[in-house]
């Protein structure tokens, strides 16, 4: 006969199949160190005390390219108040990222993740993907994809996090 203990064991076994989101709100943001376009490495963990927005983009992704100038504007407006925007590029060939960053005049740090290790660690299942991290290194907001006008929401969330 099957009693309650067996049913609980069965339920737990079934649930074990479900995947865990790697970057979840209120969890610590997975740390990483990546090379920047113009040389030195940059580590996320060393940015504690600042509000960080990590944006994963690629030159072959249409919505990513549309979003980049909006992110550059956001970075310029709030960098003085303790905000940092990191653009993590995942192109196989970093020179494509360099060309586009140059043409668009991107002012924020562009990090190169051609091995896709960091984007895999964050595992947001969308391109572009944006993560907002507070001053304590905790993930507070996740944005999957880009829709026209969402930069207003980004600005709202950044201001709220800067006030904390």
């Amino acid at each position: 006969m099957i009693d309650r203990r067996h049913l609980i064991a069965l339920a737990m076994l079934a649930a074990a199949g479900a995947a865990n989101a790697k970057a979840a709100p209120n969890a610590q943001a997975p740390d990483f160190t990546l090379r920047q376009l113009d040389g030195p490495n940059l580590r996320l963990g060393e940015q504690r005390g600042r509000v960080v927005m990590v944006n994963f983009w690629a030159t072959w992704c249409g919505p990513c390219r549309v979003e980049l100038p909006h992110l550059a504007r956001l970075h310029d407006k709030y960098r003085g108040s303790g905000f940092l925007l990191l653009g993590v590029n995942i192109d196989d060939d970093p020179s494509a990222a360099k060309a586009l960053a140059g043409k668009l005049g991107l002012t924020f740090p562009v990090l190169l993740d051609s091995k896709k290790e960091v984007v895999g660690a964050y595992d947001l299942n969308a391109m572009p993907a944006t993560v907002l991290i507070d001053r304590d290194g905790r993930v507070r907001h996740l944005h999957r994809g880009y829709k026209e006008g969402v930069e207003a929401l980004y600005e709202q969330q950044v201001r709220a996090l800067l006030k904390e």
Partner: protein, 367 residues
Amino acid sequence: MAASKVIGRLLQSLSALLGGAFAMQGAKAAPLPPDHAEAMYHRYSGGGLTSDGPALLVRKNLLDKVSLTGQVYVDAVSNASVDVVTTASPYKERRTEYGLGLEYAVRDANITLGLASSKEPDYRADSFSVDVAQETFGGMTTVNLGFTRGADKVGQKTIGFFDQAKHWQYRIGVTQILTSRWMASANLEAIADSGYLGNPYRAARVFGAAVPENVPRTRSSRALNLRVIGDLGSRDAVRGSYRYFWDNWDVKSHTFEGGYSRYVGESFLLDGFLRHYRQGKASFYSDDAQVQNTYVTRNRQLGTYDGNTLGGKVTYSWKKVPGQYEIKFNGALEVLRYRYSDYTDLRSGSTYSLSASVLQLYVTANY
């Protein structure tokens, strides 16, 4: 129509399936296509017929919500082909086709509405189409549904427009990402026609004498197309497809196509393909009918034949800024050869074969 009932049921079960898929993964529609323009000169030459002309296409995003496409296509035909020469006299005429398209995203689907109108002195064809593309399963599977309704006016030079024809096309397809380098797709299209489906200038042959052709006033056909495409890792890609066609006029055909593309250097792209087509004749087709039947045609398009095409294309990227704009110059050439098993060239007495070439010179721009 029975077909619309089938499509209705298909749509119902599909939305049930898609509803389930959306619950699993956050689905989003593919973005609208980029702003784009093309200008082309095309020329077909073969079998006594030359047809050339310009074509133009412009696509523009409006307010990032809607993508509008407009196109014009002109065919100036100079026809002295075997059918025309042996049963009539050579002629020149011009066909102009206009097309308008509207694409927009509604939640998770991309919807495309299209209008097309083709005009020539003795034929007028207008059509309206709707196509829906839905991404599911994390964007790995795209389902396509489409419908086109066409209405034609059929004319003859000496008597003007005398009849009409109507067409219904139903399309369903699925594209699946197999790996980060390979994709496959399956497409099914059912077409139904009703009205005057023949050719007022074409003659059939019964017991050696020329008689006007008589073609059924309805036709119902299906085509199934299977395709695969893959990236080979050295800036090149290979593709293959097979299509099987069958209809209620007893025509059955197979189409095999294989192609290869390769980037060469910084600015060049080379592309080549091979295509083989083979067809079995319609039940009422005959080169010289020896039996009196209700329907008879000598239209070689409906006979038994095979065709081979070899094509090549060179593309030169003139200006390119990734994601901003891109201007390319293209030149493509196709060489075709059709060999007919049951169509006699009345000038020589042996079975007919046709060699032709297609030249396409065009500029494309993404901006």
